[in-house]
Symmetry: C2
Subunit: 315 residues, 2 copies
């Protein structure tokens, strides 16, 4: 039996867990994100792959590559079931180690061509654990974060303003809490370095009950588009040279390191025998590693490390 | 107290554990490997970085980059001590989870420029666990493996012939045992794919006693040079185009995935707060990820997957 005391007992106060509405919302969200990215891109289109999961369920992977504005973007929907929660989830919930589960999610990673356009990541997920003779036990997780190569204060303020706006209807403590969690989560311990300028991260969310939690997930999702779209539209007009492309390729190495060493979604997917190509579509198209590379003192590249990566209050 | 029955009790039959000879040998080995690589390279030279480890000890990292023959090579010596064995080691030895340790090692990864020259990896390590009132408890580990982009049967036979020759003085069962272990270890579970054509892998080696185990490590080390040198010398003369470079960059993605998801040395290093730049110098200089890329039927690229990566007896 699950030790439900590890989470708040929600089923009595909120018996209506509507997984089919979540699924419908996520499929629509995938469409909306692909539409906005295709509009910004202008030339290349998303290709689709439907796939099935070995243990049940499947997904719809949409990938755009080789565009004028977007070098590679993956927008993945999945709904999979499994006999056992992967270690990436049960590390925080050992009492659920032997439970069957279903997981619904949308994951987005956008790697723009222009190094002045930041990479962005968005993910929301809904996980439901099923046990005989008990109501289903569930939680939401997700968030978004921005990874610039060249920092612009205006972009950071706008990004975090949208993150705050997403949270505000749910309480004044929500943005600070999930902004801080993002700073802690999107962190490369082995480099003592943030992945980018953060945003929002939340997990194990069920204490608000289903309806309010789902409404929050919708708000975060809507605000991801509002946060990213103007930044792409604006920065894609910057001119760049091979020097900036080289720096972008080098910094993308950090993205690979984060995703393969720490990212919960990636490890959850790989450990649950997920579809590897869909999980790893988040990896950048072209990446460089240079031994012990350091930016020149006073350069725009150095400013990224000094002024943008250290966590701060942007608004 | 350590449950020494988990390993064979060796201290009574072999009290002389000569860590300083191991260290001397490894430093000399690092020199020899750099010399042979510089000879093959012809133009670029190794640069050196001495570094110290936070918890004690340090290392000497030697990196060559941007050569005519070698795009990037790292040859790392380290001798570090720590208050607690990292999880990457204690997963197999939970009884040692709270022991202080020292670790000596040489690690080599060579990423040639020419896609017809395979990437190679070599590592040997000596780990000593110390507890009050007990003789030190130790083991050796190591091995080498070859990762071709374009397969040549002659190279595979030569590589495994040298691996077998390294093992033969130590018993006829040694090569089959450690060749099989390499096939199991250098494997990307999430892709159901070998990293390359394998070679040798051994770990937890102490059952032969110190002298014989150390002699084996020396034999493996000497044979790595004999195995790799003629392949580099021969294949670096092949002409290549951007098409082969693209395939090399794509396949190098698998190398990154292996090192960050599975490699014991990498995870041991990162978990023991090692020097990140020295640990990750194994990552290739330029890497590409393409969503769901597949080689053309009947192509030289397809042959790698069909004829070279599936484990087989090469000799």
């Amino acid at each position: 039996m699950i030790n439900k005391m590890a989470f708040k007992q929600i089923e009595k106060i909120d018996p209506i867990v509507d997984a089919s509405s979540v699924k419908q919302y996520l499929l629509d969200l995938q469409n909306r994100i692909c539409c906005f990215l295709e509009l910004e891109e202008g030339k290349a289109k998303f290709l689709e792959d439907k796939w099935e999961h070995k243990e049940g369920g499947g997904g719809l992977t949409r990938v755009l590559a080789g565009g004028d504005c977007i070098e590679k973007a993956g927008v993945n929907f999945s709904h999979v079931s499994g006999r056992q929660l992967p270690q990436a989830a049960t590390a925080r919930k050992p009492e659920l180690a032997h439970s069957t589960f279903q997981a619904w999610g949308v994951s987005v990673v956008v790697h723009p061509l222009n190094p002045y356009v930041p990479t962005s990541h968005f993910n929301v997920r809904f996980i439901m654990v099923e046990e005989d003779n008990h109501p289903p036990f569930w939680w939401f997780g997700g968030g978004f974060d921005l990874t610039p190569y060249y920092g612009f204060v205006d972009d950071c303020i706008h990004w975090h303003r949208m993150a705050k706006n997403a949270c505000e209807p749910f309480g004044n403590d929500v943005y600070p809490k999930y902004k801080k969690w993002a700073d802690q989560y999107f962190f490369l311990k082995h480099r003592n370095e943030q992945r980018g300028i953060g945003g929002l991260f939340f997990d194990d969310l069920n204490e608000w009950g289903f309806e309010r939690s789902f409404a929050f997930v919708r708000s975060v999702s809507d605000h991801y588009i509002k946060a990213y779209q103007p930044i792409v539209e604006h920065r894609k007009q910057c001119t760049f040279s091979q020097k900036e492309r080289d720096f972008q390729a080098y910094r993308r190495g950090r993205y690979v390191e984060f995703n393969l060493l720490y990212d919960r979604g990636t490890l959850f997917g790989l450990q649950s025998n997920g579809r590897t190509e869909s999980i790893l579509m988040s990896l950048p198209p072209l990446v460089a590693w240079h031994y012990n590379w350091q930016p020149l003192h006073g350069s725009h590249e150095a400013k990224l490390y000094e002024e943008f990566l250290p966590p701060k209050e942007w608004i």
